[in-house]
C-alpha cells in the first residue's frame, strides 16, 4: 500500500444499470484513519461502501482498495481481499443457525485457523464486547444491540486492515449505539485499523479525530 493509502478513488463512477449513483468521485483514505460518510437517503452511501468490498464494480474511473484495483480484480483476488476486511451491516447479517461464538470467528473459520485458536479468540472478543455470557447463545436470542456487538466482534476477529460499516447503529437505541461507537473508536484508536462508516448522523460525542465525507449530487466531498 503506497504511502499507507488504504483506499484511493479517482474519477470513480458507480452505476446500477444505466443509472449513475456516484459520478467522477475522488478521495483517498490513509491507514489508521477514521472516516464518516454521510448523505441523504438514496444518495449512494451504501453503494459506495459495497464497491469497497467488491459487491459492485466501478463502471468508470479507478478505485484501489488495499493496493488492488477493484475494476479489474478477479474473483480469487477479491476473495483474498475480503478475508482481510471487517464488515459490519445495519441488519447485522449474523448466521442464525450458528452460535454467537461461531459467528464471531467466521473470518478465522474461513482462514482455516485451528479450533483452539477460534475458541480463544471467540472468548477474548466476546469479553471485549461484553458478551462473554452469550458464548453459546444463538443470534435470535440476543437483542438488536447485542447482535450488532457480535457483528463488530466478528469484523475485528482477524485484525483487518480496513473495517467497513454500513449504518451500524441504524437500528439501535442510543445506549446500544454509544457502545458500538466506543468499540469502533477502540478498533481505530488502539488497533490502528482504518475504519470507514456510512451513517445518517455522526455521533455527537466522539473522542478520536475523524474525517467526514458527504455525498451530494453524485459527488463525494470532504467536509472540513
Amino acid at each position: 500500500m503506497a504511502n499507507n493509502i488504504v483506499i484511493n478513488a479517482s474519477h470513480l463512477t458507480l452505476s446500477y444499470g444505466d443509472t449513475e449513483i456516484i459520478k467522477d468521485a475522488a478521495f483517498s483514505v490513509k491507514q489508521g484513519e477514521f472516516v464518516f460518510i454521510t448523505g441523504p437517503s438514496g444518495s449512494g452511501k451504501s453503494t459506495l461502501l459495497k464497491s469497497l468490498y467488491g459487491q459492485i464494480k466501478p463502471t468508470a474511473g479507478k478505485l484501489v482498495v488495499g493496493g488492488l484495483d477493484m475494476r479489474t480484480i478477479n474473483s480469487n483476488k477479491l476473495q483474498e481481499l475480503r478475508t482481510h476486511l471487517g464488515i459490519v451491516f445495519q441488519d447485522y447479517k449474523l448466521i442464525n443457525e450458528w452460535t454467537v461464538a461461531k459467528n464471531v470467528v467466521l473470518p478465522l473459520i474461513i482462514a482455516g485457523y485451528s479450533m483452539d485458536v477460534q475458541e480463544t479468540q471467540a472468548k477474548r472478543l466476546l469479553k471485549h464486547v461484553k458478551l462473554s455470557d452469550k458464548y453459546g447463545a444463538y443470534p435470535l436470542e440476543l437483542s438488536g444491540g447485542e447482535q450488532q456487538r457480535v457483528g463488530v466482534a466478528r469484523a475485528m476477529s482477524k485484525n483487518p486492515f480496513l473495517m467497513l460499516a454500513d449504518e451500524p447503529t441504524g437500528n439501535l437505541d442510543e445506549y446500544s449505539s454509544n457502545v458500538i461507537w466506543d468499540l469502533m473508536e477502540n478498533a481505530c484508536g488502539q488497533l490502528k485499523t482504518t475504519v470507514l462508516v456510512v451513517t445518517h448522523r455522526i455521533p455527537s460525542v466522539f473522542s478520536i479525530p475523524y474525517r467526514h465525507f458527504i455525498i451530494e449530487n453524485k459527488g463525494v466531498y470532504e467536509v472540513h
Partner: protein
C-alpha cells in the same frame, strides 16, 4: 418435523430416479437374456453350389457369427431309399451344400432382409430361406415393450428431477443468507456450500440404501415367496452388487450438479 420433511422431499424424488434406473438395469438384463434366446432360436437356411466356410460367409456379412453345415448323408439316404447304391452316390454328389447360419446379435427384420439380399447376390449361393413372419412378430412386440418401459422410466426420472430441482429452490432460500454472508467474508465455494453438500450427500446415500434394500428384498424374499415361475427364473438378474455403485454414483452426481446450481444461483443473486 420440518427437518424430516426437508429430507423426505429430497429423498423421495431421488429414490424415484434411482428406482427408475434400477428398473431399467433389471429390464435390460432380463431382456438381454430373452434377446439371446431369440437370437439363438433364429437361423437362415442356405443352399450353395460350393462349399463355404464361416470366413467366407462373414465376408458377405459381418453379423454372421456361426455356420453349421447340414450333413448330406442322411438327406441322400432318405431320398435314395429303394434305389441302387451307385444311384445313391450320384444323388449324393448332385446334392448342393446346405448351411444353417446364425447371427451375433438380435437383428431388426430390415437388417435380416438386407443380409438375405446380400447373400442371394453371391453366385455360389442358390437359395436363402428365412423364417420372417414369426421372427418379425416377436421383434415388433419385444421392441414395443422395451420402448414403452424406457419411455416410462425416462418420464418418471424427468418428473422426479423437477421435484429435486424444486427442493433445491427451497434449499436455496434456506441457505442463501448464510452463503452470502460467508461469501462477503471471502469464504471459498467449497466452504460456503459445505453444509449443502453434507446434507445432500447424506440424503443421496439414504436414497441409494433404500432403493437397494427394495431390490434386495425383491430378489431374495418376494421373488421366492411369489411362486411366480418367471420371477424365480429371473431371480439372479433382479439385483447385482455392482448396481449399488451405479445408483450411488448417479445419486452423488445429481447431488453435485444440484448443489452447484444452488450455489451459483445464490452467487449471481448476491451480485
Amino acid at each position: 418435523m420440518k427437518f424430516i420433511k426437508d429430507h423426505l422431499t429430497f429423498i423421495f424424488p431421488m429414490m424415484a430416479i434411482l428406482l427408475g434406473i434400477e428398473f431399467f438395469l433389471v429390464f435390460d438384463r432380463t431382456t438381454s437374456s430373452y434377446e439371446e434366446g431369440l437370437r439363438e432360436g433364429y437361423s437362415m437356411f442356405i443352399v450353395a453350389d460350393k462349399e463355404l466356410n464361416l470366413a467366407e460367409f462373414q465376408k458377405l456379412n459381418p453379423h454372421i457369427s456361426k455356420s453349421t453345415p447340414v450333413t448330406k448323408d442322411e438327406l441322400a439316404q432318405e431320398i435314395s431309399q429303394g434305389i441302387s447304391k451307385s444311384s445313391s452316390e450320384k444323388i449324393l454328389q448332385a446334392l448342393p451344400y446346405f448351411y444353417n447360419i446364425k447371427f451375433d446379435t438380435y437383428l431388426h427384420t430390415s437388417v435380416l432382409d438386407s443380409i438375405k439380399t446380400s447373400l442371394e447376390t453371391d453366385e455360389r449361393i442358390k437359395k436363402v430361406e428365412t423364417f420372417g413372419n414369426s421372427y418379425s412378430a416377436s421383434y415388433t412386440l419385444f421392441s414395443f415393450i422395451k420402448f414403452a418401459l424406457k419411455a416410462f422410466v425416462i418420464f418418471m426420472s424427468l418428473v422426479s428431477l423437477f421435484l429435486v430441482v424444486k427442493q433445491m429452490e427451497v434449499w436455496n432460500y434456506a441457505h442463501r443468507e448464510r452463503m452470502q454472508v460467508m461469501e462477503i467474508f471471502g469464504a471459498p465455494l467449497m466452504l460456503r456450500s459445505g453444509v449443502l453438500f453434507k446434507v445432500a450427500t447424506i440424503d443421496a446415500v439414504i436414497s441409494t440404501i433404500l432403493t437397494t434394500t427394495i431390490f434386495v428384498m425383491l430378489k431374495h424374499k418376494w421373488a421366492e415367496e411369489s411362486h411366480l415361475e418367471i420371477l424365480k427364473q429371473m431371480q439372479d438378474l433382479l439385483f447385482r452388487p455392482f448396481d449399488f455403485f451405479i445408483l450411488l454414483m448417479t445419486s452423488l452426481m445429481i447431488v453435485i450438479v444440484s448443489v452447484y446450481i444452488v450455489v451459483f444461483s445464490t452467487r449471481e443473486s448476491s451480485q
